[in-house]
């Protein structure tokens, strides 16, 4: 009843005093959603031109023939699947990404715990130092690692030899080369996990641990029954984010091995570069780089659905 009265009242006011155009604009600009949209507009424009347009363009490109004169649908993808080297690249990318993400997450979790248990004063120093790999430009640090692994003058081999061990073909033996590129990726990416997990750890209410202590829970039990469940969402999101980035990695492999020896360290991005830019087959290169898109897309949907579900449960 009261609502009806209010509506009538508002209607009468409106008919008696129509807001001017300037006032309408001011009201429009005052709306929070409008302000938010306007503030996001530069970013939306940038993303549209630098992300969305290239993404759709590369999808279009991947469906053209070699000379980009004919639409061939999924022909490029079909062709790729028939190639031995490409199948090896799929396998290698999966090994590279999954093992690197696993170790990054593991090392990130362990170091986050270690730092979280340090006194507040020492924490800042360690946090800063451990973030260094993530802060240095990747191309630069990869080059540094390449020097350490240099096929002929490796610093690591110098140390090994001086300790009486045999030299290791860090980059010339395909299996060691795979190990080396994964190691560098872990070194670079672990600090991201560390900082995310540290933030998550700090947000776990201390009372939960106190209550568990009173109940006689061990450190491991606290970790399994309090820390991990409280961190599940952040773990899921960081793993998803890192998987996407690692599957698309280019710099480390390109600088350290360029896909060799015998194509045995190629990942999607380096193989796409070889086909698209070096060999001049842009459509095939585009198809290679898009190959994981549907798989990662499905993984993203599943992981984000889990995150939302847990969020609702907590809420």
């Amino acid at each position: 009843m009261a609502d009806t009265v209010q509506v009538w009242s508002t209607g009468l006011q409106a008919s008696s005093a129509q807001p001017s155009a300037t006032e309408k604009l001011r009201l429009f600009l005052r709306r929070r959603s409008t302000v938010a949209f306007l503030m996001c507009l530069p970013l939306i424009v940038i993303i549209t031109f630098l992300v969305i347009y290239p993404a759709f363009y590369s999808i279009y490109l991947s469906m053209l023939n070699k000379t980009q004169t004919r639409f061939i649908g999924l022909g490029n993808f079909q062709f790729l699947l028939s190639r031995d080297v490409f199948r090896m690249v799929v396998e290698q990318t999966a090994i590279f990404a999954l093992s690197a993400v696993f170790f990054k997450a593991l090392i990130g979790l362990i170091t986050a715990h270690l730092i979280n248990n340090l006194p507040a004063k020492g924490q800042r120093k360690w946090r800063g130092m451990l973030l260094v790999p993530w802060v240095i430009p990747l191309a630069l640090s990869s080059l540094g690692w390449w020097w350490l692994f240099d096929p002929t003058h490796s610093a690591f081999n110098y140390i090994l030899e001086s300790l009486g061990f045999n030299q290791i073909g860090w980059l010339s033996n395909p299996y060691w080369a795979r190990f080396s590129v994964i190691l560098v990726n872990v070194w670079y990416g672990a600090p991201f996990f560390l900082i995310m997990y540290l933030a998550a750890l700090k947000s776990v209410p201390e009372q939960l641990y106190e209550a568990a202590s009173i109940d006689g829970a061990s450190a491991w039990q606290k970790f399994v029954h309090i820390t991990l469940p409280m961190m599940r969402n952040i773990i899921a999101i960081t793993v998803l984010f890192s998987l996407i980035v690692t599957f698309a990695n280019f710099d480390i492999v390109q600088i350290m091995t360029a896909g060799g020896p015998r194509n045995m360290t190629h990942v999607f991005a380096t193989y796409a570069f070889m086909l698209g830019i070096r060999s001049g087959d842009l459509p095939l290169g585009a198809a290679t780089s898009l190959f994981m898109f549907p798989i990662l897309g499905v993984a993203a949907i599943l992981i984000l659905r889990g995150v939302r579900k847990r969020g609702r449960e907590i809420g």
Binding site: N65, K66, T67, F79, S82, R83, D84, V85, P151, T152, H153, G169, L171, S172, N173, P174, A177, Q254, T257, A258, G259, G260, P261, R262, N263, F273, M274, G276, I277, R278, S279, G280, D281, L282
Partner: protein, 454 residues
């Protein structure tokens, strides 16, 4: 001092006459300068690794610009990380950018649809300087039309660069006597003795002495080029000009067995070397020989002068089918979206003259190699030192033929074979991976079939 050999500004009458003549000699009509250039031109050019070499090209372009009232702007783009190729690919896709772009190896073929035909310029140069390198023709003459002009800057071959004293001491071979710095003194019996069998024998001795040769077996161009020359010397054809896959042959089996013996006396890290790996190997003093342009020697002059003074660049070993050296020419391409095509062609003709080439070769200490054999008499290769005559054998002389891995397949197919390094992966699979020869050939057949995709 260079002088312009370009015709002076033509009259209307002479232009009409040229046009009439052009209709007679339609295809191979020489370049006719049809106007004063004026305006501006922009070039995206390969950034030379020799300090100061870019300045000579800039000077030549500015000279031409001053004479023709045209502003020339040059961007030197590094090939590190293939940035020059990325730039070319971006400009080709966008349809805008520089007027002239330098293209390495296969890029003329890759961008053929957006390049301006250059028959007029190249036919003029052929008229002046005689036949052009067959590798340049293979890479830039597409369906009978020249789509690029071979550059002097950055064009190269990859012959042997050997340590004189090490070969003498450990293999009993005097490379300076085999290939003295005067072609008229080359003795056919002696040069014929420099074959792949002798090479293997000497490589084994040098390996035992602790100074192995350094032959890269990665997937970059140095590896692909020397392996391509080896395959050619043994008569191996991967794919012929009619798209027939020919890798499954006795020649392939012979060369692979040979490669197994040769790679066994190389340092194991050659499988991970990039294009700088062999240079570093020679400069370090550990290596006795590499197959490379004189860049390693030039850097050794600065970093390890005693090694530089002991280097001698000379032809490749001879095989059952001849003596081949890997060649990688560069080209200038003129985008078809350029707004100043006539001026661009005029500039390219100017910087391709022998006088200009002489200055460019001098500035690069003999590294840059014109694609015309008649220019191999430039004085730089005879005079640079130490030791005097060290790079005389760099331009292909005697019976040495230039080649590129991937040929004689159609260049579209050749580009795939070359850039996917199918030849070196084959060798690496057999020698490093110890895969069965028949499996390697089967793998190569499958990969080569993929390169035939339209």
């Amino acid at each position: 001092m260079s002088q312009s050999v370009l015709p002076t500004r033509p009259s209307r009458r002479s232009l009409l006459k040229s046009a009439a003549l052009g209709s007679v000699a339609a295809v191979a009509a020489p370049y006719v300068k049809d106007t004063y250039a004026a305006g501006s031109l922009s070039l995206g050019v390969w950034d030379h690794w020799v300090p100061g070499a870019n300045n000579t090209l800039t000077k030549l372009c500015n000279e031409w610009g001053a004479k023709n009232n045209c502003e020339v702007k040059i961007d030197y783009i590094t090939s590190q990380g293939e940035k020059d190729k990325l730039t070319a690919a971006a400009e080709a896709q966008a349809g805008t950018g520089h007027d002239i772009m330098s293209h390495r190896d296969w890029n003329i073929r890759i961008h053929q649809n957006v390049l301006e035909p250059m028959d007029d310029v190249v036919s003029q140069l052929i008229k002046q300087y005689g036949p052009i390198s067959p590798v340049a023709e293979y890479l830039a003459k597409i369906k009978g039309t020249w789509m690029g002009v071979a550059t002097t800057v950055g064009s190269q071959v990859k012959p042997c660069c050997s340590r004189i004293s090490l070969y003498k001491q450990h293999a009993g071979i005097d490379v300076t006597e085999l290939f003295p710095a005067d072609e008229s003194k080359w003795d056919k019996t002696k040069t014929d003795s420099w074959n792949w069998d002798t090479y293997l024998d000497s490589a084994q001795k040098l390996f035992k002495a602790g100074f192995p040769v350094g032959l890269p077996m990665g997937q970059s161009s140095d590896s692909v080029d020397w392996t391509g020359a080896l395959f050619n010397a043994f008569g191996v054809v991967l794919v012929d000009a009619k798209d027939n896959i020919k890798v499954n042959s006795d020649e392939t089996r012979t060369v692979m067995e040979y490669a197994k013996k040769l790679m066994a006396v190389n340092p194991p890290e050659v499988y991970a070397w990039d294009d700088a790996g062999n240079n570093r190997w020679l400069i370090s003093g550990k290596g006795s020989s590499i197959m490379n342009p004189p860049s390693a020697w030039a850097v050794a002059k600065r970093d390890n002068p005693s090694v530089a003074a002991d280097c001698w660049t000379h032809p490749m070993p001879k095989g059952p089918k001849g003596r081949f050296v890997g060649q990688l020419p560069q080209f200038y391409g003129l985008w078809n979206f350029s707004k100043n095509k006539a001026a661009a062609k005029d500039l390219l003709l100017y910087i391709s003259q022998k006088d200009s080439a002489a200055q460019l070769v001098q500035a690069s200490f003999g590294y840059d190699l014109p694609s015309f054999k008649t220019m191999y008499d430039l004085p730089t290769w005879q005079t640079v030192e130490p030791p005097v005559g060290t790079v005389y054998g760099y331009p292909p002389r005697g019976d040495e033929q230039t080649s590129i891995a991937g040929a004689p397949a159609r260049s579209e197919v050749g580009a795939q074979i070359y850039n996917q390094a199918i030849n070196t992966v084959m060798v690496a699979k057999f020698t490093q991976g110890n895969e069965k020869l028949e499996d390697v050939i089967k793998w190569a057949e499958n990969e080569l079939e993929g390169t035939l995709r339209v």
